[in-house]
């Protein structure tokens, strides 16, 4: 089953390798892995999409939480009320005859035209990964010369937030003991 893990980790060297090792030691191939600044200074938000058994993923999430520098790790697979968006850049072959058709497909998928040459169009699209799959499918007959996808990022709808504030009072309490 496909699982989605979302994590907040300290932005420091080696963090990526430590996370990767959790999957690599089990021979898991990560489908997508995105990392970027979170709302907290010095804290990176990670989204990982990976195929695997629930038992194994549960163990991976537990081991992930144990990494020094990992604040929050959640398996959000079962969370239905959420957004999962990714971005796609795609370079499509066009000629005078097909250019307009590609432009109207872009319109249909709310994609932006970000670069134009005499033989290509570069389009930028965002949305659910499935939508981007479909967009690529309809573009393929024209000739997809190059594509780049960011991998999905996830966020729950409504007031729910992932952040559990790091450096909380209980951290210091433990140290004092």
């Amino acid at each position: 089953m496909r699982h989605v893990l979302v994590a907040l980790v300290q932005d420091e060297p080696g963090m990526l390798a430590r996370m990767g090792n959790l999957f690599a030691r089990r021979g898991y191939n990560v489908e997508s892995f995105t990392a970027g600044a979170s709302e907290l200074p010095g804290v990176t938000r990670i989204t990982i999409v990976v195929e695997g058994s629930s038992v194994a993923l549960d163990q991976i999430a537990k081991q992930f939480r144990k990494l020094v520098g990992a604040f929050k790790v959640a398996d959000v697979t079962a969370d239905t009320d959420q957004l999962s968006h990714e971005m796609l850049l795609v370079k499509v072959a066009v000629n005078a005859k097909t250019r307009q058709e590609v432009v109207s497909l872009a319109d249909l998928f709310k994609a932006r035209i970000v670069d134009v040459s005499s033989t290509t169009l570069m389009l930028e699209a965002t949305g659910e990964p499935d939508k981007l799959d479909k967009f690529l499918e309809v573009l393929r007959p024209f000739g997809v010369k190059e594509q780049a996808r960011t991998g999905a990022v996830f966020m729950s709808r409504g007031a729910k937030i992932l952040n559990q504030r790091p450096g909380s009072a209980s951290d210091r309490k433990y140290l004092a003991e």
Partner: protein, 562 residues
């Protein structure tokens, strides 16, 4: 105060209360060793191989509960630590490994003796650091000790480039550290204690499982009080041995693949397992579908990832074993399980641990003689293999935290170097090393360290000319084709002599009492080369993939109904 990086490191170690390190110098480590000269309060033991430094730090940590420290140079020095670090990782032992690294400016260029040791040790450390700026050195070392010794302990490595060791380093030792997100849960919630207490009160046939966590938490007294309060038998894992005196009427000894029959039967027939600081290792559980089929599991561990990892826990409890045992003892009513205890004694009577071996010197008799010679109160370090299992079975540990061995990783060659550290923790009494001729030959270079440090380490060599445990598996599961397991060795008595260590050869059971007396009474180290029976097997044995109820007993023993 300004120090060089090298001095700053030792300043940190002094503040962490370190008074001994096991170390091996080298090019990149030179500034570090140079600075060590200014710190006479830190005793430096020169080992003969870096692996031994890591095992010694590990043995010291197990014996004292303090963080053990080993030091190595870059490249091969660092990679030689790897087996020792992995051993500490698998057994949750607090070790700080300091490695020197090539100068920061040449990192990543495959410089002479450069190796990416933080990369190599990433999966076998609790955490590690590569210090690339002087300002980060003190914090990294401070954090390393904090992380190694708190929560579920484990090894932490700090890699220090040579130029960082020579450059000036601002020294400010932080009183407190905060590692956001690192927050081991020590105290379980009151509702969990209540729920656990209720399950214990409801149980008819409870068994307490004592793991290494009891030692780590120094919860020996709490374990005894708890077991006495609920009158439940206590079964140990390999590393849980000596958590409760073997003389205690509730102590059943070790269960698992080579566990004693009555302990396995108690676990298999229990209706509640109260697991304290153990991880349901496959050598302990046997076939999972057959493991303790009627039992609920109350699983206590400080590491949430261990709970439910192999055996589902109906009552999971994250917390420090000592805290939980105290809280439970205060909450549960006094219980009476005399029928259940009588049942375990019946099993003990039906499946006694007897020596059926023929020949002049059965290996089990060597362990029994060691027990006699030390009155069960010796400090024992065992290596890995058949002799390890015979120690676990036949040595009745009457003294708390007196048994040290590599459990999780099963590292052959562990015992002699680990004994260097155990000895540092028990400076006034002999340390007994029980080792096979295979394991001994993996790290016997440390005999030189033993002599150099004049340590009263008594080596009991179980010399059978085989890699015995592997030979046993070949006999049982590979058609007795002994490929790669017959092993020769030197004349061990002469070998010891060339290191200046007195030694004696033992070839018959009758010689054992006098031999052990001589070993004990000789000042300093001693080696007993015990020429034991070559083809003895360890029994009882639960064959891989079978239930712990289906242990195979020594076929030479009386056939008994289960």
């Amino acid at each position: 105060m300004r120090y060089t990086g090298g001095e700053a490191l030792w300043e940190c170690l002094v503040r962490e209360g370190v008074d001994i390190v096991w170390a091996y110098p080298g090019g990149a480590a030179l500034p570090l060793f140079d600075a060590l000269g200014k710190y006479p309060q830190i005793r430096h033991v020169l080992v003969r191989h870096e692996q031994a430094a890591a095992h010694a730090a590990d043995g010291y940590a197990r014996a004292t509960g303090k963080v053990g420290v080993c030091v190595a140079t870059s490249g091969p020095g660092a990679t030689n630590l790897v087996t020792g670090i992995a051993t500490a990782m698998l057994d949750s032992v607090p070790v700080v490994a300091i490695t020197a690294q090539v100068a920061d400016s040449v990192i990543g260029t495959d410089a002479f003796q450069e190796i990416n040791i933080t990369g190599i040790t990433l999966p076998i450390t609790k955490h590690n650091y590569l210090v690339r700026e002087s300002k980060d050195l003190v914090r990294a070392v401070r954090e390393a000790f904090f992380l190694a010794g708190t929560g579920r302990p484990g090894p932490v490595l700090v890699d220090l480039p040579k130029d960082i060791l020579t450059k000036p380093c601002d020294f400010h030792y932080p009183e407190r550290i905060s590692r956001p997100g690192y927050r081991p849960v020590v105290r379980s919630a009151p509702y969990q204690i209540q729920r656990a207490a209720q399950a214990i009160a409801d149980a008819k046939c409870p068994v307490v499982l004592a793991g290494h966590g009891v030692h780590v938490a120094k919860a020996w007294e709490q374990l005894r009080c708890f077991a006495e309060r609920i009158n439940a038998p206590v079964v140990s894992t390999l590393l849980g041995l000596s958590a409760l005196s073997a003389d205690h009427p509730l102590c059943l000894g070790m269960a698992g693949m080579h566990g004693v029959a009555w302990a396995n039967l108690a676990v298999q027939n229990a209706d509640l397992l109260i697991a304290m600081g153990m991880r349901m290792d496959d050598r302990f559980t046997g076939s999972l579908p057959h493991f303790a089929p009627q039992a609920k599991l109350l699983h206590v561990d400080i590491d949430p990832a261990e709970i439910g990892k192999r055996v589902p826990a109906q009552i999971p409890m994250v917390g420090d074993v000592r805290f939980v045992l105290e809280a439970l003892t205060a909450t549960v009513p006094e219980l009476d399980h005399r029928d259940w205890l009588a049942q375990t004694e019946t099993w003990r009577g039906r499946h006694p641990l007897e020596v059926h071996a023929q020949g002049p010197l059965p290996p089990q008799e060597v362990v029994r003689a060691l027990y006699q010679a030390t009155n069960g109160e010796g400090v024992v370090v065992s290596d890995v293999g058949q002799h390890q299992m015979w120690v676990a079975q036949h040595y009745r540990f009457r003294r708390l935290n007196s048994f040290f061995t590599s459990g999780g990783l099963g590292t052959m060659g562990y015992s002699l170097p680990a004994a260097l550290g155990v000895q540092a923790g028990h400076p006034t009494e002999p340390v007994w090393v029980v080792v096979g001729d295979g394991s001994f030959q993996m790290n016997l270079q440390e005999l030189a360290t033993v002599t150099q440090e004049r340590l009263p380490i008594k080596i009991v060599l179980m010399d059978n000319g085989y890699l015995g445990m592997v030979r046993q598996w070949q006999e049982l599961f590979h058609g007795a084709r002994y490929i790669g397991t017959p092993i020769s060795g030197p004349d061990f008595v002469q070998l010891a002599g060339s290191y200046g260590i007195p030694a004696r050869r033992v070839t018959a059971t009758a010689e054992l009492p006098a031999a052990f007396a001589e070993a004990r009474e000789t000042d300093g180290p001693f080696l007993l080369d015990c020429k034991v029976e070559q083809d003895e097997n360890v029994y009882p044995m639960v064959q891989p993939g079978t239930s712990n109820t289906d242990f195979v007993e020594d076929p030479r023993g009386r056939a008994q109904e289960k």
